[in-house]
């Protein structure tokens, strides 16, 4: 029940394809980040996985069984698609009570999960009075209610304060360590880098890559060598002759297209003294932006454009 297989999943709405022949696998034991820019099809994919949206093609299975065929799915797969999916006029406790009753979960479990997510003292307050962060916690409580083996969460850190973010990060890691399968979507790679070990990256509904965070960085992050030297002008033409490009940054020169070892050897032959020769790696955020650059659906205006 613990491995999620998504195979050739396709979901079309009038006029466009939201999920396009998407395939990936999510394994238990670690958190898998489901990444993509806004509008890339993450939420639609998750809705198709649990049968809320009807896919036109492909399948999503939980150890070979489709979600609709699961008996008592709350005990198998816990899902959080939108923290706002709770009636604003109902208390958090009553919200979980009806959910628990629908599959025969004991009332005491409701109080247990409310305490677990830190809402025990405010559980009788109406959801409409909750902050977004509290609603997220309620959403997590509904996921945990059935003590499921698989957890699917769509942007769970939205609206959480730093303490809440750390809490959910630790919770998801702990759940994964227990051998559960955890799939978490986000458009923030920096957050995913702290939670996830594996990434499924999509853009415009298509799979861009599935790999570990380390592999993703190695494949997509920019790498360069930062050089500080009194004789850097002597090094520049030699590096250019070998195909390197350069840029200046705070008194240092960044060399692109050569490794630190190559630059060190080149400098030694030319008698260049180095005060700094350090390999640099671009941020995961930059790597993510580079990987998904061609598939971003909604671009913002550049800041200089906005200034006019």
């Amino acid at each position: 029940m613990r491995v999620i297989h998504v195979e050739h999943l396709t979901k079309k709405f009038a006029g466009f394809t939201a999920v396009d022949d998407l395939s990936f696998t999510v394994s238990p034991g670690h958190v898998t980040g489901f990444l993509g820019p806004n509008g890339s099809g993450k939420s639609t994919t998750m809705r198709c996985m649990i049968g809320l949206d009807h896919a036109q093609g492909g399948s999503a299975t939980f150890s070979g069984v489709s979600y609709s065929k699961l008996t008592q799915p709350l005990h198998r797969v816990g899902t959080l698609l939108d923290a706002g999916n709770a009636h604003s006029g109902r208390s958090a406790r009553n919200h979980l009570m009806w959910l628990a009753a629908s599959t025969g979960i004991n009332k005491s479990r409701v109080d247990t999960v409310l305490e677990q997510v830190g809402l025990g003292e405010v559980s009788r307050r109406r959801v409409g009075k909750y902050s977004l962060g509290m609603k997220q916690r309620l959403g997590i409580a509904s996921v945990l209610l059935g003590d499921p083996e698989v957890l699917i969460l769509d942007e769970p850190v939205n609206g959480l304060d730093p303490e809440g973010i750390r809490w959910i990060r630790d919770l998801l890691r702990d759940l994964a360590k227990e051998g559960r399968t955890v799939l978490v979507s986000s458009h923030l790679l920096s957050e995913m880098a702290l939670i996830a070990e594996e990434l499924v990256v999509i853009g415009q509904g298509k799979l861009i890559t599935q790999c570990t965070v380390g592999e993703f960085t190695a494949r997509y992050a920019k790498q360069w060598v930062r050089v500080v030297s009194p004789q850097v002008d002597a090094l520049k033409p030699l590096a250019v002759a070998r195909g390197a490009t350069m840029s200046e940054e705070n008194g240092a020169i960044n060399f692109h297209g050569m490794t630190a070892a190559e630059l060190g050897e080149l400098g030694a032959t030319a008698g260049v003294t180095f005060h700094e020769l350090s390999p640099q790696t671009g941020s995961l955020e930059d790597a993510f932006l580079d990987a998904t650059a061609s598939s971003v659906q909604y671009h913002g205006a550049k800041s200089e454009g906005l200034a006019h």
């Binding site: 799915p73 006029g89 009753a101 629908s102």
Partner: protein
């Protein structure tokens, strides 16, 4: 199925809007009926029953509103996704909701009728009248041409209230919007049916006044109906059934 029904019952009883609508649908006809019994110049069984069923028209509409609430609020608040995630077999959810809202309305109407008649009976006794509906329910002082007993009127009223709840539920499922479904539920019987009937009569000399479904439902609960009571109830039931089946099929097919 029992788990699902319990879940749906919790949903209904934990919302202020549902409880308020239920209170009004019960209290309004009771209050008017008892006040009529207290102050009417020439009270009797037929008068009390007429007041109860006529003011009960408001209750019928409120039963429809409860039906709308049972499903449309789930769409507007997003809880339908949690409901379907917990129970992927949507027809089970549909059936559980329909059964629970029907039982809810049936009990509410039973309370309305029981308390209304007992209250009216008590008021009349205090005035020295001997009110007979409760003691000899088969006889009206002004019996209709269809030979209906008070029990038949009360039973028909209960059935029509349940049908209103179901048609409201079906409209809520179709439109997925409380304001849209409630507007449809109120405007069709009060306005649209009359306008369409008038237009067809004026333009094409076609009279559908005896075929409009909501009007048939309201005629069915009159103390002295102008047609066979159970024929009118059956006719409205067919409309409810058709709309409910369409709503169920669409709920199964559409994305949540």
């Amino acid at each position: 199925m029992l788990h699902l029904m319990k879940s749906e019952f919790i949903k209904l009883r934990t919302l202020r809007s549902t409880l308020t609508a239920t209170f009004v649908l019960i209290a309004f006809p009771i209050a008017v009926t008892v006040l009529s019994a207290m102050f009417a110049k020439s009270p009797g069984e037929t008068m009390v029953m007429k007041v109860l069923t006529n003011t009960g028209t408001v209750s019928m509409l409120l039963c429809g509103v409860l039906g709308v609430f049972a499903i449309a609020q789930e769409y507007s608040q997003g809880t339908i996704r949690i409901t379907f995630a917990a129970t992927p077999t949507r027809m089970k959810v549909f059936a559980a909701k329909a059964i629970v809202i029907s039982l809810w309305v049936a009990i509410s109407v039973a309370v309305l009728e029981g308390v209304g008649l007992i209250g009216a009976n008590y008021a009349l006794h205090r005035r020295g009248f001997d009110f007979g509906v409760i003691y000899s329910p088969s006889i009206f002082d002004n019996s209709s041409g269809h030979g209906d007993s008070a029990w038949q009127v009360l039973f028909a009223f209960g059935i029509v209230c349940i049908l209103f709840a179901l048609i409201g539920f079906a409209l809520g499922a179709l439109l997925r919007s409380s304001p849209g479904a409630i507007a449809t539920l109120i405007l069709v019987p009060l306005l649209v049916e009359g306008i369409v009937t008038g237009l067809l009569l004026a333009a094409f000399d076609i009279d559908i006044s005896r075929k409009t479904p909501f009007t048939a439902a309201i005629r069915a609960v009159q103390v002295e109906p102008d047609a066979a009571r159970w024929g009118l109830v059956g006719y409205f039931s067919i409309w409810c059934l058709v709309i409910t089946v369409i709503a169920a099929l669409l709920m199964k097919r559409r994305d949540a």
